[in-house]
Symmetry: C2
Subunit: 334 residues, 2 copies
């Protein structure tokens, strides 16, 4: 069951029973727009604040996933959830009504990987029939949390990324579907000493490289054993650094690498600089774009690697570097 130094290969691999995705207007206007389950015209989802809107998204994403599986929240043993806001309030206020026993998580934009890892570990261990994994991010609440309130209309460097307004929820369980989580690689914190919080792609690329290399080593696979290797949200800057780092380690993932942050927006027309980001980015891409292709069997095996930049306004204002973390989830068609 234990594989190498950081991975687990599940003897009884749990299934991704169903999932739900919900996004804002800009995401709905992007290249994946038609694939999401639900969108909102003004990004407020009927609420008065960006934070309440983000909570509403989390709740809705969970409910969509539950409805697709035809089960109620009382059937879900534990919920694993997180977001980018201080003290994870989008999650606390969002999932409260579902009344599922819950574990609050923080892994920056890697949180969807963290939640899927823990949900699948719990199902595989026999701790319950169903677990929910949910994450979200919101452009309005994230700009306020990490940079400036939207009203400031601050300028954004070319290396900056656009936080995705969206939430993805995944019901992981023993109930059969056509996608299984067959293994995980839990990430370590990787710190190259970078201090530019507006260049998260560069901060996260070393962690993505570390986790992908570790995954290949632990599972004794080569790059081409995966139909696709998805990173969470490295963006254009981070992707090119990742390719360089992989090459230095004798690996070439160029042919089968896709970054969720690069496909969720159209960089040319949507003014998103280096690409999308946020813990909703990888989550809604997995739900709307990756899982359907695994379900049909178009892809047989995918490595999903959400990446996170570990920082806060306090840490970077105090001169700390911005380390990264990335968790690997192995998804297989069955």
């Amino acid at each position: 069951m234990i594989k190498g130094s950081q991975s687990i290969q599940f003897e009884h691999a749990p299934y991704v029973v169903s999932s739900g995705s919900i996004v804002g207007k800009k995401e709905a206007d992007g290249p994946l727009g038609a694939l999401f389950d639900h969108m909102d015209e003004d990004d407020l989802f009927g609420e008065n604040t960006w934070e309440a809107a983000e909570s509403k998204m989390q709740k809705k994403a969970c409910i969509i996933a539950l409805q697709k599986a035809g089960i109620g929240p009382e059937k879900v043993r534990y919920l694993y959830g997180g977001d980018l806001l201080r003290q994870g309030i989008a999650t606390s206020m969002g999932v409260e009504e579902l009344q599922i026993p819950m574990f609050g998580l923080y892994g920056a934009c890697s949180t969807s990987g963290e939640a899927l890892a823990l949900a699948s570990m719990s199902v595989a261990a026999g701790y319950g029939e169903y677990m929910l994994a949910v994450t979200s991010s919101h452009f309005g609440s994230a700009e306020k949390e990490f940079r400036f309130p939207l009203g400031y209309a601050n300028q954004r460097p070319l290396s900056s990324q656009w936080t995705v307004t969206g939430s993805g929820a995944f019901l992981v369980g023993t109930e059969k579907s056509h996608v299984r989580i067959t293994g995980i690689t839990v990430g370590k914190i990787v710190d190259y000493g970078l201090k530019d919080s507006q260049n998260m792609g560069a901060c996260m690329a070393p962690a993505a490289c570390d986790t992908i290399l570790q995954n290949l080593k632990d599972f004794e696979r080569k790059e081409s054993d995966y139909d696709r290797i998805f990173t969470g949200d490295l963006g254009y800057v981070g992707q090119s650094i990742l390719f360089d780092l992989m090459r230095r380690n004798g690996k070439d993932i160029k042919p089968n690498h896709v970054d969720c942050g690069m496909i969720i927006f159209d960089q040319q027309t949507q003014d998103t600089n280096a690409g999308g980001s946020g813990c909703g980015c990888a989550a809604v891409t997995l739900s709307s774009y990756i899982l359907p292709k695994l379900t049909t069997g178009e892809w047989k095996r995918v490595l999903f690697v959400p990446t996170g930049a570990l920082m806060s306004t306090v840490s970077y204002n105090e001169g700390e570097s911005v380390p990264g973390i990335a968790h690997g989830i192995v998804l297989e068609h069955c």
Copy 2:
């Protein structure tokens, strides 16, 4: 293995192999002062900021626990850690150097329960020989995060609590010791609609009550089946509410209830108002005071219930209520 609706009883109950506790000056001057592994005279632990000091405590607490067990960090499969700061930076910057694959958590002051639950679930499932669970809080960083910087010298209402400067780390594993984690009860978010962020005891008491009742139900036990029931940091206000709520449900935990927040400081001489709090509070009390009594067999079975108030400056300034969450850990002498 599954017990009732929220609990797990472990077939192969993991052991608390060792633990480490580290505190600041005020905690060292308190009633439990002589029991902690390490203290620092100026609460800075050789660093320049409260945040860096908190990170240092986390690292030191982990190293103390590892040293007591005589193992290196490379033997630890996964680390589960969290703190109170935005984006959990005390943990990210604190455990980074240990280079253990890690899961970042947020459960407010309940985080030590959340970390111990996940660490024990992972060991019991066979995912590794050793897991680390670590949490911290720091008076200086927490006041800045949630209320005012210390220099403001703001007045504190009588219901307010004093955040403990401290970190507790727990090595959970298959290696035998005299204390086992035999079961867990994962908490739900409980919201009575209270909005006073300066009265966290009242906000958390309903969650403590809910988790204790659920634990007794799921494990088919009565109050007296536990030598002690410890809550994390309800303080004086929260404890009296908890007693009332339990009585309404036909339970009386008065004879064997202890609150970590009420024993860590001397309320009369240390000016701590309703008691101690913070995710270091329950953690250092467990490490220094509870575990030794379980090790000697003075207590045979203890229910440890850290409690958290789910809020941020943003959530309460936007008028949200302060819901609570509490996780139950069953510890037994063996």
